[in-house]
Every structure is written in structure tokens, then in C-alpha cells.
């Protein structure tokens, strides 16, 4: 099941040129771009691992693409996303976030229903990939 988080996630995967163009847009807005990755795609997992520091003083997309390429080659079977942070007073938040890489196989989620008191039902989302230990969830098995 293809997960859809962040901007552009209903579109076909972005090409390298498209990623660079989006990053360029972010930089033109004065946003700081950062890269994050994870192998736990649970929707409530909002804190992904940072790939390096946020890039505060890079002016051109080519500089960010160096890091993007590094992330892609280091974590080909992980989810990788690009975040753009707007530090303007009053915003101070991520303005754009999109996934640039995903594992080849995405096993998806199972919905668990817990029957509680009375007729109450509690739901929880369970990632199939999460059954394996972190680092061995997608493809291979070798830890990154």
C-alpha cells in the first residue's frame, strides 16, 4: 500500500529534476531545507531521523541535491522526505514537506479493533513493516 504523507504524495514519484525544482522554490522563499528518513511509516510517527543538519545557508538547489543524493544512496530502502522550514515570525513551522524516496515494497497497515467496555471499540493502526526490528524492515535485512 502506497503511503500518502505530505505534499505531492498522490502524484507519481518526483524525478530528480522535479525534486531540484521544488527545492529551488523553497530556497527562493527563504526556507531552510532539511532531509529526514525513516523505516517506520506509521502516520503518528512524526519525528523521522534527521539526515544531517537543516541546511540554513545554502543558496542554490545544487547544494541541497548533493545531500539528497547522499541520502538516496545511503538509504535506498527507506522513506526519505524533504522538509522546508519557514523561520518567519508568526510561521516558524514547516511549510512544505514531500517524500522523495520510498521502499520498493510497501506492505501497508492492518487495522486492529479492540473491544472495550460496553460496545466501545478502540482502533489502532499496525504497520506490517514494523514487525521487524528497525533497520531490517524493508528488503535486504542488513542494517544501514
Amino acid at each position: 500500500m502506497r503511503i500518502t504523507q505530505g505534499t505531492f504524495s498522490y502524484l507519481p514519484d518526483l524525478t530528480r529534476e522535479q525534486i531540484a525544482a521544488q527545492i529551488n522554490y523553497c530556497l527562493e522563499q527563504g526556507w531552510a531545507v532539511s532531509i529526514e528518513y525513516t523505516d517506520d511509516p506509521h502516520p503518528r510517527n512524526t519525528y523521522w531521523e534527521m539526515f544531517g543538519m537543516p541546511m540554513f545557508d545554502i543558496q542554490d538547489a545544487a547544494g541541497v541535491m548533493v545531500e539528497v543524493d547522499r541520502a538516496l544512496s545511503e538509504f535506498p530502502e527507506y522513506y526519505i522526505k524533504v522538509n522546508a522550514f519557514d523561520s518567519t515570525h508568526g510561521w516558524e513551522t514547516v511549510r512544505l514537506s514531500f517524500i522523495i524516496n520510498r521502499p520498493r515494497e510497501e506492505p501497508g497497515f492492518r487495522l486492529d479493533r479492540l473491544e472495550a467496555e460496553g460496545r466501545t471499540i478502540r482502533y489502532s493502526t499496525h504497520t506490517y513493516a514494523g514487525q521487524k526490528p528497525a533497520g531490517a524492515r524493508y528488503g535486504g535485512g542488513e542494517t544501514a
Partner: protein
């Protein structure tokens, strides 16, 4: 001009015409070149070379329009010259010109020295250098006193590593980066001869000549103009004397020495005005530098040519 769609075909006998003048005007490169001419006094070899590069890039653009293909020219440069001859200032203008010609995308200048590139321990240098290169992408990387990168006396020096990474970036990221190496002439000569790989990748060697008395005087005038000061008649004379004497003294750093002298001179002017604070001052007085502000300089105390 020539927007007929034919321009992308290889040139035939009677083909479309290409208008260099129109392209020149459209690129507002003229303004950048004009500011180079107005802001920089003297430096004829530098200006000639900058114009040549501008011409090359403009023609290259037209050639692309005409469907003639060539690799984009490599524009890594070295600026050699004594202190205060305007290397950094020209680099800044160069970044602007290259942006206007569409050779670099952003046109910012990242000025660094050895400290910004070379790390303190093993494994520290590569990330540091890469960080700087990433920042400079889309613009110009200006490495001041670049010869410090290479220290032949210490073979374990990390400078070498920084040079290697720079070389890699200069080769692989040609479209993203222009590197300018700057430094004093002899040291740079030694630097390039001990790094042949580097020399062969730096296409443009630009020499910055020292300024003569007349040029220095015009620089001083320009600086004072920017700061909104003017010289009294006697002060003009004193400034000419000052420049003449200062040039012969050790530690003379061309325009930088002039700037420092003017800063001290402003201080003396302020002191002089402060001492007359009982009376009110006119705007002219506030803007005028008198001969005494200049003549108080230590330069005139030197034994020998004392013109006081």
C-alpha cells in the same frame, strides 16, 4: 531577431542572423561592466579580461541559439596581486557579471580562507570543505590566500585533502560552481606549480597590478565621495603628498592603506571639530577635511623627505 524557429537548425548557406547587440542590452551586463569601470580605478588588465570573459559568454549564448554546441567554458580563475589591489571587490563584481550572463544561477560570493576549508583532525576536512562548496553552489567560491592550503613542509597537512575535494567539485560540478583562487603573486606561483592538477583546471589567471600615485589619489577621492566628505584645496595637496610618501614606506597595502588613512583622517577631523565645540558648525565644515587632518599623520614624521 531570428525568432523563426530556423535558428535551431545547423547553419546553412543563407541562415538566420543573430543580434549580439540586442542580447547585450537585454542582459543588463552593461550596467555591471559600467560599475566595474566606475568603481574600480586603474586595473586595466583586469578590466580587459573581464570584458573578454563577458564577450565569450555572450557569444556562447548566441552560438547555443544557433545550434552550435560546445561544452560551457570553464571559468575557474586565479587572482594574483599585492594586498589591497581589489581582488575581493572584483570577485564580487565578477559574481554579479556571471549571474547577469546566466553562467551562474544565484551570483552570490562565498569568501573563505584556509580555516573555513581545512579541519583540525583526521576526517574533519572533507565534510568542512564539502559544506563550503555546497554553500557556494550557484555562485562563486572565493578562496583568499589560497596558497595557505598547501603546506609542503608538513606532508600530513590536511590542506591537501581540501585541495583534492575542491578539484573534484571543480570538475564534477562545473555548472554549479566557479572557484576563484586569490593570493600574492609569488606564493600563488609556488602554489600552482606544486599542484599541477589545479593549475590545469584554472583557465584564467588575472594579475592585479599595483596602483600608481595618481590612481591611488582617485581611489581616495572615490572613497571620500562614498562617505560624503570633501577635501579642501590644501588638503588635496596634502593627500597627494601623503600618498607619495606612504607608498615608499613598509607595509603599504595599496587601496587598503588609503582606506585606513582616510579612516584615521576622519577621526582627526572629528577631534578638531570637537575642540571647537563652543561655536556652531556648518554642514560644509562637517563635510570638509582640512590639510591639518592629513598632515598630522605619522607618515610625515619620517626622517628624510619632510615636507611640512
Amino acid at each position: 531577431m531570428g525568432e523563426t524557429g530556423r535558428q535551431h537548425q545547423p547553419p546553412a548557406g543563407d541562415e538566420a542572423r543573430y543580434d549580439l547587440a540586442a542580447l547585450y542590452e537585454a542582459s543588463d551586463i552593461e550596467a555591471a561592466l559600467a560599475s566595474l569601470n566606475a568603481e574600480m580605478i586603474g586595473l586595466e588588465p583586469v578590466k580587459t579580461r573581464v570584458r573578454e570573459i563577458a564577450a565569450l559568454l555572450l557569444v556562447e549564448k548566441l552560438r547555443n541559439d544557433a545550434g552550435l554546441q560546445a561544452d560551457p567554458p570553464a571559468l575557474h580563475m586565479s587572482f594574483t596581486g599585492n594586498p589591497g589591489t581589489g581582488k575581493t571587490t572584483v570577485a564580487r563584481l565578477m559574481a554579479d557579471i556571471l549571474k547577469k550572463l546566466g553562467y551562474v544561477r544565484k551570483g552570490h560570493l562565498v569568501a573563505v580562507t584556509r580555516d573555513d576549508l581545512v579541519g583540525e583532525f583526521i576526517g574533519h576536512t572533507a565534510p568542512k570543505t564539502r559544506e563550503v562548496i555546497k554553500k557556494a553552489m550557484g555562485g562563486v567560491l572565493f578562496i583568499d590566500e589560497a596558497y595557505y592550503l598547501f603546506r609542503p613542509e608538513n606532508e600530513r597537512d590536511y590542506g591537501k585533502e581540501a585541495i583534492e575535494i575542491l578539484l573534484q567539485a571543480m570538475e564534477n560540478n562545473r555548472d554549479d560552481l566557479v572557484v576563484i583562487f586569490a593570493g600574492y603573486e609569488e606564493q600563488m606561483e609556488r602554489f600552482f606549480s606544486s599542484n599541477p592538477g589545479l593549475r590545469s583546471r584554472v583557465a584564467h589567471h588575472i594579475e592585479f597590478p599595483d596602483y600608481d600615485d595618481q590612481e591611488l589619489y582617485r581611489i581616495a577621492e572615490l572613497m571620500l565621495g562614498h562617505m560624503q566628505y570633501r577635501l579642501s584645496g590644501e588638503a588635496e595637496e596634502a593627500l597627494r603628498d601623503y600618498i607619495h610618501l606612504r607608498r615608499q614606506q613598509p607595509g603599504f597595502a595599496n587601496a587598503r592603506s588609503i582606506r585606513n588613512a582616510l579612516d584615521r583622517c576622519r577621526m582627526r577631523q572629528a577631534k578638531r571639530l570637537f575642540e571647537q565645540r563652543q561655536r556652531s558648525l556648518s554642514a560644509t565644515e562637517l563635510a570638509t577635511i582640512e590639510a591639518e587632518d592629513l598632515l598630522a599623520s605619522r607618515v610625515f614624521d619620517e626622517p628624510g623627505e619632510n615636507r611640512r
